[in-house]
């Protein structure tokens, strides 16, 4: 980590987005993670995505659990409220926060220990409830903060200083598909070109968006045999597609060769332009997506890209039929039935 803060002085020509914010307005505190940590690249991708989408920073709520990855919300969007909760329980805190105010953008930032080990239950249940959120798992297969123990996504047969992992790894992408996530993607912290548009699409998605991002741990799990290492992912990255995220106000100017590009309109009117790398891959077909993932994973490939998308996603507020006004803005006028009704209630108990 560095301890030298960037100078406050800004170049007068620094680019601004439509709101007049610069890239710097989306940054947070200085990262305390190790130099070369994949997580810092993901933070940087998130900053870029929010800047490019021109999101008002205070309209975002960042939530996390415990671990290296869960520290990162502090290192981005310094003008957003953040909540570093307890280990493995971010999904429930995020669910409650979302219930209280449906108007904010919720980012859950977690790791493989936080999501797949201690928090697997909460991960599963928040996905099946359809919480409108971007859930990022910064996946390195190892416990960093406690120095190198295996997590539940660690490869079978991977070695630490003292042990060999004999447990099967949990695949969060496969789980998310089974559990009913409406946006499922995998990416790599070292591939910002793929990651930033995926994040933008996930933010625009009005349902449970799960992104599993392979994010190498340079200290404890970056050996070439590890499927969570820079080297391995670079060599075995099987990207099924590329996204160009197009905002509502932009026009689609270019015509593409038929069959190579699909455009998908999301609920908020934003348009995803999906360039197919593997022409056979259809992100709307869940069963085939699962078969494809199984097949490629068995061959040692890391499948990345937008793996599944349900265009007409629903979220928990639709399921619970909650009012449009955020619940945290309702006061006694809207909530308290008053004394006359209570008198009638008393009569029912006589």
């Amino acid at each position: 980590m560095t301890y030298i803060a960037k100078p406050k002085l800004r170049h007068p020509g620094i680019p601004t987005n439509v709101l007049g914010f610069t890239h710097r307005d989306y940054e947070g505190s200085i990262s305390t993670l190790c130099a070369g940590c994949g997580h810092d690249s993901i933070s940087s991708a998130l900053i870029q995505a929010c800047f490019e989408l021109a999101i008002e920073p205070h309209r975002v709520a960042k939530l996390s659990g415990i671990g290296c990855s869960s520290k990162t919300p502090d290192y981005l969007l310094g003008q957003s409220h953040g909540f570093n909760s307890v280990h493995g329980r971010m999904p429930s805190v995020l669910t409650g926060a979302n219930l209280a105010n449906r108007d904010l953008i919720y980012m859950g930032i977690s790791g493989d220990g936080d999501s797949a080990s201690i928090g697997l239950g909460q991960f599963a249940h928040c996905v099946r409830r359809g919480i409108n959120m971007v859930y990022i798992c910064e996946n390195n297969g190892v416990y960093g903060l406690t120095k190198g123990q295996f997590s539940a996504t660690a490869d079978k047969g991977s070695k630490s200083k003292t042990a060999v992992n004999s447990d099967s790894p949990i695949d969060l992408v496969g789980l998310a598909l089974i559990l009913g996530a409406t946006f499922v993607a995998r990416s790599f912290s070292g591939d910002k070109k793929q990651l930033v548009p995926l994040l933008k699409a996930a933010i625009a998605h009005q349902g449970s968006a799960i992104i599993d991002v392979v994010s190498p741990c340079v200290q404890f799990n970056n050996n070439p045999q590890s499927t969570k290492s820079y080297e391995f992912v670079r060599e075995h990255n099987d990207a099924v597609n590329r996204i160009d995220f197009i905002e509502p106000r932009e026009e689609i100017k270019v015509d593409y060769e038929p069959g190579t590009v699909t455009t998908i309109e999301q609920h908020d009117g934003s348009i995803l332009k999906l360039s197919k790398i593997d022409p056979t891959y259809d992100p709307h077909d869940k069963a085939k997506a699962m078969a494809y993932l199984q097949d490629r994973q068995a061959k040692g490939e890391v499948v990345t890209g937008l793996l599944y998308l349900e265009d007409d996603a629903e979220d928990i507020h639709r399921h619970l039929n909650t009012v449009d006004t955020p619940l945290n803005r309702l006061g006694e006028k809207e909530l308290c039935p008053g004394s006359a009704k209570l008198a009638a209630v008393n009569d029912e108990y006589r």
Binding site: N84, S85, A97, L99, D324, L335, N346
Partner: protein, 609 residues
């Protein structure tokens, strides 16, 4: 042979049934009929952790003198369960009555000479009247209510009106139930005239009081108190609170114009997730609660520490049951006092409220949301199975329409814009409660990072000893502020100056009222203090210091409230005498009276020697 008990508006009827046999609604009907005669009742359901086939009891205490606790003893047993027959018969007071199904003769050894038999051939009448096996079973229950009504002089019109009220909305069921009731009533009128010396005489003692369960009342308190988010996990005896909240919300919280809900209820995957959701919602400015019992409190510990340290409002209803572990899941206790007061690892301290009955459960529920937002910390409403799941006769619920919600110290966008200093953990006005901002308030000001790790007054991460200590000391001072905000204890002084005092709380209160009257009649005077909250107000310390000896009456084994007082108020433990009742049944007036009388008399004798 003692003479048959003769009593008017003052006796105990106990029903021994098999659960799942449909007896509960018939037994409730009986209690309602007495209430509709204007005579107070206290009813208690004693049930197993089971759905069908195990013994269950329902006790109705009829008390024209308004004693609403359990008295102890049984004057009339309605013995409908062969499994528990022997114990049930043995529990009847000498001179009492035994109403039973006399269809099949039982050997004389099954009866007691000092108990008066009231035989009713229930099965025979049922089999004669009904062909459907389910009806034969169900209507047997209403039939014994009919026989009882005749025996104790409840007018048939009262019962018929009560049946009509019970089946409101299911009108088809009224006529068959009235018919079954009549069969029992007529049989007893014809064959059993004068068989029972227990009588109900119509009066107007009930007044405008209501008959309601604590969970139901607390759920109403949540609606009135402005709760919008509820997250819970099913656990006896708290489940009915969450379910009642849903029912009341459907009635009162659906927006008329849009048909949309001004509430969100989530049945979580476990208690950990439930409290996580409550804390997430509280952090984001909604009034949120969970309802649980001991095992849930155990699971939520880590989150309680987070909410305490990160200062997030949350309301937790703990409907206490018999512990430890699964313990006695359908029996009552007050045994979570210590775990709630100091919930979570590290140095913590939480605010507890102890309502005495459903009426106070309603009030404290609504107040808990104000306290949680004012103090920015979890508030535990410490109820128990006895209050939560039994219907109690209590004062009607009231609401002051001028009352507004206290949302606590929330800094607004305007205040931030005007340049007001915002430090999330900065005590600006001496009450140790800092201001908070809600997510999404202002584009450039007032954001902060909430965490369970140590931080400075401006929410910046810090592991510096002095910074940590500064924060921990402020949290202690916040508890001092809490002392001034929580409900005050209720003191009641004896007619004569008293050397002895007694402290009690929660569901013990009704039995205590009666015990005090009995002790006074016996010439034993003591002052009492009903504790209604933790942290303890100054009045608690004063009360103890003004008495040589103080009884602490509790429904747990380890004298948990007493230990909390000793610990928090630095008082010599020798000053206290514990009166403890923890067999899972609600404490009785007889138990308290005997225990206190024995100790007081002993002390008097010692003093005389």
């Amino acid at each position: 042979m003692p003479s048959p008990i003769s009593a008017t508006n003052d006796f105990v009827v106990k029903f021994a049934n098999v659960n799942g046999s449909g007896s509960a609604s018939a037994n409730e009907l009986f209690a309602k009929c007495i209430l509709r005669s204007g005579v107070p009742v206290a009813s208690r359901n004693i049930f197993p952790s089971n759905i069908q086939g195990l013994p269950t009891w329902y006790e109705v205490r009829v008390s024209g003198a308004n004693w609403l606790g359990r008295r102890g003893g049984v004057d009339l047993m309605v013995a409908m369960n062969p499994q528990t027959w022997d114990k049930d018969v043995a529990s009847i007071d000498p001179g009492g009555y035994l109403l039973h199904d006399s269809t099949k003769p039982l050997p004389p050894s099954k009866f007691r000479e000092d108990v008066n038999e009231i035989p009713v051939p229930l099965t025979e009448i049922c089999n004669r009247t009904y062909s459907d096996p389910r009806q034969r079973q169900l209507f047997k229950n209403v039939m014994y209510v009919g026989a009882l009504a005749s025996l104790i002089d409840i007018a048939p019109e009262v019962v018929e009106a009560a049946i009509a009220a019970q089946f409101e909305g299911k009108e088809k069921l009224i006529a068959p139930n009235v018919k079954a009731f009549r069969l029992g009533y007529d049989h007893a009128a014809e064959h059993l005239a004068g068989a029972c010396g227990l009588k109900v005489v119509k009066s107007d003692i009930v007044g405008d009081r209501i008959f309601i369960g604590g969970n139901d009342a607390a759920a109403l308190g949540c609606v009135y108190g402005g709760a919008t988010v509820a997250a819970w996990y099913p656990i006896t005896p708290s489940t009915s609170l969450a379910e009642a909240f849903g029912a009341h919300c459907k009635k009162f919280r659906v927006d008329a114009a849009t048909g949309k809900n001004k509430f969100a209820i989530v049945q979580a995957e476990d208690e950990i997730a439930a409290i996580g959701m409550v804390i997430g919602a509280g952090w984001n400015g909604a009034r949120a609660f969970t309802a649980t019992s001991g095992p849930g409190i155990s699971l939520m510990q880590e989150f309680f520490g987070l909410a305490y340290f990160a200062e997030i409002p949350a309301v937790v209803f703990d409907i206490q049951r018999g512990g430890p572990s699964t313990g006695m899941p359908t029996r009552t206790q007050q045994s979570d006092v210590l775990i709630a007061a100091y919930a979570s690892h590290g140095d913590t301290k939480h605010v507890l409220l102890f309502p005495k009955d459903p009426h106070e459960s309603f009030e404290f529920a609504a107040e808990a949301f104000d306290l949680a937002e004012r103090l920015q910390t979890p508030i535990f409403v410490m109820m128990d199975l006895d209050i939560g799941m039994n219907d109690w006769l209590c004062e009607p619920l009231t609401w002051d329409d001028t009352r507004t919600y206290d949302r606590g110290k929330i800094m607004t966008a305007e205040e931030l814009e005007a340049g007001k200093t915002f430090g999330r953990y900065l005590d600006v006005d001496g009450d140790a409660i800092p201001y908070r901002t809600l997510p999404g308030t202002h584009p450039t000001k007032g954001s902060y990072f909430t965490r369970g790790t140590s931080r400075d007054r401006f929410a910046k991460y810090s592991e510096e000893g002095a910074v940590y200590v500064d924060n921990m000391q402020r949290l202690l001072r916040k508890i001092e502020t809490a002392k001034t905000l929580v409900p005050k204890p209720v003191r009641r002084d004896a007619k004569e100056p008293a050397r002895f005092g007694a402290i009690y709380y929660g569901s013990t209160s009704v039995a205590m009222d009666e015990a005090l009257a009995a002790l006074e009649t016996g010439g034993l005077h003591l002052d009492t203090l009903r504790v209604r909250a933790f942290p303890f107000a100054e009045e608690v310390v004063d009360f103890i210091q003004q008495h040589e000896q103080v009884f602490v009456v509790e429904q747990n084994r380890d004298a948990q409230l007493q230990k909390l007082i000793v610990n928090e108020c630095a008082i010599d433990p020798a000053r206290f005498i514990s009166i403890l009742h923890y067999d899972g049944t609600p404490i009785t007036a007889r138990f308290i009276t005997e225990a206190i009388a024995e100790r007081m008399t002993l002390q008097r004798k010692e003093a005389a020697e």
